[in-house]
């Protein structure tokens, strides 16, 4: 029997339901975002490694001497290293600008910035404890991006403009020397904050087995429905309701589809699942 009531909270699934959902794929990321993600990833790795090698002062350096020497050798001269860092940085800014200026509404969606949901706060705590092996409590339901991903995206959205502006200031120095000095501090700090989040992001995305489908979704653009149900329930629910609404519009006279559901009240919040 096919249930056409969309549950409000995650319910245990039968093996058949789970198997069916495992086979269905839902689109999570569109091409533009996939391209930007990997463009960012490669650029950031290169900028980070060259940037760390560029700080040679004993007072401020973050990389050991052999690392710095290795990069000096790789690029021939430190001046070349700096030129590369600047050129790549400027390329990144130029590619990113259209996304920032025109893709604003797509990428800066309200729900991505909202971390005040009780589910989100509890998720952050439970996720941390679970991964440290301190609890077995289930994770609260999440939207299209879980609280961790939202937190990281907030850090990125806040810090990226700082990295870009301070980087440009240091490259062209069109402001007073005092501001250039402060640009150095803010560039270091904002990059550092992103790196702190990046470490978690890379682990959770690429190493942690639970999120394997998420990693592949950044290549294929889709996740299987079971993963969405288990990890991003609230989003799955939205998708499901939207799918049902679309179905109803296509075949309004098809009783089999809407048999259990009174017209206009498909959101049967108070009814127990059939």
């Amino acid at each position: 029997m096919r249930s056409s009531v969309v549950p409000l909270v995650p319910m245990p699934l039968s093996p058949e339901q789970a198997e069916e959902m495992l086979q269905r794929r839902i689109k999570k990321h569109h091409v533009a975002i996939i391209l930007l993600h990997w463009f960012n990833a490669t650029t950031w790795i290169l900028e980070l490694s060259t940037g760390a090698a560029l700080i040679s002062s004993r007072l401020f350096k973050v990389a050991p001497d052999w690392y710095i020497a290795m990069f000096n050798g790789l690029f021939g001269t430190r001046a070349n290293l700096l030129q590369f860092h600047i050129a790549l940085g400027m390329t990144w800014i130029i590619v990113f600008l259209p996304y920032g200026l025109f893709g604003f509404r797509t990428y800066l969606r309200g729900e991505m910035l909202n971390l005040t949901d009780r589910d989100d706060v509890r998720w952050l705590i439970v996720r941390t404890l679970r991964i440290l092996g301190k609890t077995d409590e289930p994770l609260p339901p999440q939207g299209i991006y879980n609280a961790g991903q939202k937190a990281f995206s907030m850090v990125v959205w806040l810090m990226t403009p700082v990295v870009m502006v301070t980087g440009a200031i240091m490259a062209f120095r069109l402001v007073s020397p005092v501001l250039v000095g402060w640009a150095v501090v803010l560039h270091f700090f904002s990059v550092g904050m992103i790196v702190a989040g990046l470490v978690v992001h890379v682990y959770m995305g690429a190493v942690f087995p639970e999120e394997k489908p998420a990693f592949f979704s950044m290549i294929t653009g889709t996740v299987n429905e079971l993963f969405a149900y288990n990890h991003h329930f609230k989003w799955w629910r939205e998708m499901k309701l939207a799918e049902q609404a679309w179905e109803r519009k296509r075949r309004p006279k098809d009783e089999a589809v809407i048999a259990d559901v009174p017209p206009g009240s498909q959101d049967t919040s108070s009814e127990p699942p059939g």
Binding site: L22, I55, L82, P177, F189, G192
Partner: protein
């Protein structure tokens, strides 16, 4: 390898500024700045018992240059002959080195927006010439040479004629521009234009004491957390995590 130094004889200097002008012309130093600056001490005493001395200052190519350490990108370095040089291609114009110099010898050029300073006319030395200021000095008060050349006049002036460094008890970084003059005049110059203790710009302090610990701390915590998670993952095995 050579160890270059300069001697300025303040008994001969007339503060004509020809050295400043020659240097500025040689290296296109922007107006309002100078790689070598001429000053006169304020008049000490009352008429007619007066005392004053000119003083010519520039980068001293110190033995222990305090400007090298705060240079973020390593653009400032000391070469084998002791000359402190600035690699213009590496300089990012942050200005951390400017405040670190006890002799105020560095400045940020409004043209290149990078750091500029005296380098004993390195390109001229390589051609076998003397620094522009030495060649031009109208009073023949400046001398340039290799401290390690025992037959040279600079060696003689420093080690046998009392050529003096402008150093104090608190700031002794081994400057290699020496001065000849009457002791009371050299004392007056030292009290009028004392070397300043090396300072780090506020931005530099913020970077060193605030931003660096915060960033390293945050990244460290992240790495630690993920390391624990990773070990847990290895320990538990992958099956546990599958749906």
């Amino acid at each position: 390898m050579a160890r270059y130094a300069m001697v300025t004889d303040l008994r001969k200097c007339v503060a004509c500024h020809a050295c400043t002008v020659a240097c500025s012309a040689e290296w296109s130093v922007p107006a309002g700045h100078a790689r070598t600056h001429v000053r006169t001490t304020p008049l000490a005493g009352s008429f007619p018992d007066l005392k004053s001395s000119p003083h010519v200052g520039q980068c001293n190519q110190c033995d222990r240059p305090p400007c090298v350490e705060p240079c973020l990108s390593g653009a400032t370095y000391q070469d084998a002959a002791g000359i402190v040089r600035v690699d213009g291609d590496l300089c990012i114009g942050c200005g951390f080195c400017v405040d670190a110099c006890p002799y105020e010898a560095r400045f940020i050029s409004p043209l290149s927006r990078k750091v500029d300073k005296c380098d004993f006319c390195r390109p001229r030395i390589e051609r076998g010439e003397e620094p522009a200021c030495v060649t031009t000095c109208t009073a023949h008060a400046k001398y340039f040479g290799d401290l390690e050349d025992r037959s040279g006049e600079v060696h003689r002036m420093v080690f046998h004629e009392g050529g003096r460094r402008m150093e104090t008890k608190t700031v002794a970084v081994g400057p290699n521009v020496f001065y000849l003059g009457r002791p009371e005049h050299l004392d007056l110059v030292l009290t009028s234009f004392p070397p300043r203790p090396p300072r780090l710009l506020t931005a530099g302090k913020a970077l060193q004491k605030l931003a660096w610990p915060l960033v390293v701390g945050a990244v460290g915590v992240s790495l630690l957390g993920q390391a624990v998670a990773f070990f847990n993952q290895l320990h538990k095995g992958e099956d546990d995590f599958e749906e």
